[in-house]
Symmetry: C2
Subunit: 128 residues, 2 copies
DNA sequence: CAGTATCCAATATGATACTG
DNA sequence: CAGTATCATATTGGATACTG
């Protein structure tokens, strides 16, 4: 498999090319929440468990510079910023969904019904 | 999305669960070569560009401990070791193939025909 | 609200030398 | 042949304090 240079970056193969854009801990959680809607910085921060402010900022910057999300800033007071998927982002979210499905399957092989856990979580959130 | 603990490891979501097993630079290149055949350590090392001996060893260990590949050692002289995909590995290679396909598509969007590059490389290898 | 800046620990990767 | 061991660097991620 030959190397390829795209935008001054060297990739070893097509999987490398994808994983450098959506790999790591935080890309997928952000993209997943932007799947169907535009969200503000603070909404993403509130909705993604464990993410630090630094990692959210960094992740958003990289996704934007890779052309996967679009950032819109409104010069209101206080300032407002909204993030949404680009056309490329919409292609990529399909892949994320596939990875997620395989994850659910392999978890099931380990005896874990993850989607049931999500329902549980929602129920408890409502109770509160 | 709730956390999940599998084999003493905490995962944030199903994508995290998958990427911790096949993410990074070297998992996919190794798996891709084991897709249809059993290979020896030295064959993998020869066939994967840029990989260091240390990273190959580490990658093989992690894939084995995650139940994705099987290691067979033959006590001949000199010793021989063969690696192959497990049932779980075969499920995972399907996903790797999908990631690869998306990678090829996005590369094409950047104006790069990666599969043509592979053919070129093969031709040059034969000429030599 | 939407970030920067700084310090720190852990992990990923590479380079080189050595071994049962 | 199939690895270990060691040293070094870069990147990832967390914690905390600060800002237009």
């Amino acid at each position: 498999m030959p190397d390829v240079i795209i935008n001054k970056n060297r990739f070893y193969n097509p999987v490398d090319y994808i994983l450098r854009q959506i790999g790591g801990t935080w890309k997928a959680p952000v993209l997943w929440r932007l799947k169907a809607k535009t969200l503000r910085y603070s909404e993403l921060e509130k909705d993604i468990p464990h993410i630090s402010q630094k990692m959210l900022t960094k992740t958003l910057k990289e996704l934007e510079s890779d052309g996967i999300i679009l950032k819109k800033t409104y010069a209101s007071v206080p300032p407002r910023t909204e993030y949404s998927l680009t056309a490329k982002g919409k292609k990529i979210i399909t892949l994320v969904a596939t990875i997620r499905t395989t994850g659910l399957e392999l978890m099931k092989d380990e005896g874990i019904d993850y989607e049931a856990l999500i329902k549980e979580e929602k129920k408890n959130a409502v109770k509160k």
